[in-house]
């Protein structure tokens, strides 16, 4: 079990109702972390219902849902970016 800082942005932040939280997890990949969160509460299950509509960054770098979490301290979830 390791402590990970999780951040949420845009409508994901609003759906979950938190800008972020610290969680203790044994998830090995991003997908496992999503499953863990989703099994915890319906709010997460709904927010993460369509992972294809989300993006993830590990320690401030874009990553994949299959990416491993070992050594990662900050996981950020957010919708596709709309800068510019």
């Amino acid at each position: 079990m390791t402590m990970i800082e999780i951040l949420y942005f845009a409508w994901l932040r609003e759906k979950i109702g938190l800008p972020g939280e610290r969680v203790e997890t044994s998830a090995q990949t991003v997908m496992q972390l999503i499953q863990e969160l989703s099994s915890r509460d319906d709010v997460y299950a709904l927010a993460f219902a369509d992972p294809g509509s989300l993006r993830v960054a590990l320690d401030q770098e874009l990553a994949e849902f299959t990416s491993p979490l070992s050594g990662v301290r900050e996981v950020a979830f957010f919708p596709p970016m709309t800068g510019g």
């Binding site: 951040l7 942005f9 845009a10 401030q60 950020a76 957010f78 970016m81 800068g83 510019g84």
Partner: protein, 157 residues
């Protein structure tokens, strides 16, 4: 502020800025080039329906992400300089959201690199826009065409 490369000027800020003064300062900072291209993005009023735009960003990631994109442009088109200013927070219609500028020897490199920077900032820099209107608010969704635009840059020199 995040820029290790002296050719890159990068500002991520809430405050308004002056595009014209920025363009002149950028041009003066890169003597010897033949071509400077600038892009400014402005909040549209969408037929007077939009009252404000709120821009959220992932502060710890924004600087590094934009730096990485700009370094690519500087290397690929051998730019003498590149500039990115992007605002966050609440903006009103008509306000300038962001600006990109590139300085190169010839016009082809200046145009291509500014176009490239915009395509990548649009889909790869961690900003999210929420549009406010009389009827309420709505997160602006990413366009498939913005993601598709990135492919323009994959098979060019």
């Amino acid at each position: 502020m995040f820029a290790a490369d002296s050719r890159l000027t990068l500002q991520i800020q809430q405050a308004a800025f002056d595009p014209g003064a920025t363009l002149n300062a950028f041009q003066a900072a890169h003597p010897g080039v033949g071509a400077v291209v600038s892009f400014t993005g402005i909040v549209r009023d969408e037929g007077a329906t939009l009252t404000a735009l709120e821009i959220e960003h992932y502060a710890a990631m924004t600087g590094p992400a934009i730096s990485a994109i700009a370094e690519q442009a500087i290397g690929r088109w051998q730019l003498a300089g590149a500039l990115v200013i992007h605002r966050y927070g609440r903006l009103l219609p008509g306000e300038t959201i962001m600006m990109v500028a590139t300085a190169a020897k010839h016009r082809a490199g200046a145009f291509a690199s500014a176009d490239f920077l915009m395509d990548y900032l649009k889909s790869r820099a961690p900003f999210w826009k929420k549009a406010f209107s009389a009827g309420g608010s709505e997160w602006v969704s990413a366009k498939a065409e913005d993601e598709a635009a990135l492919h323009r840059w994959s098979d060019l020199p």
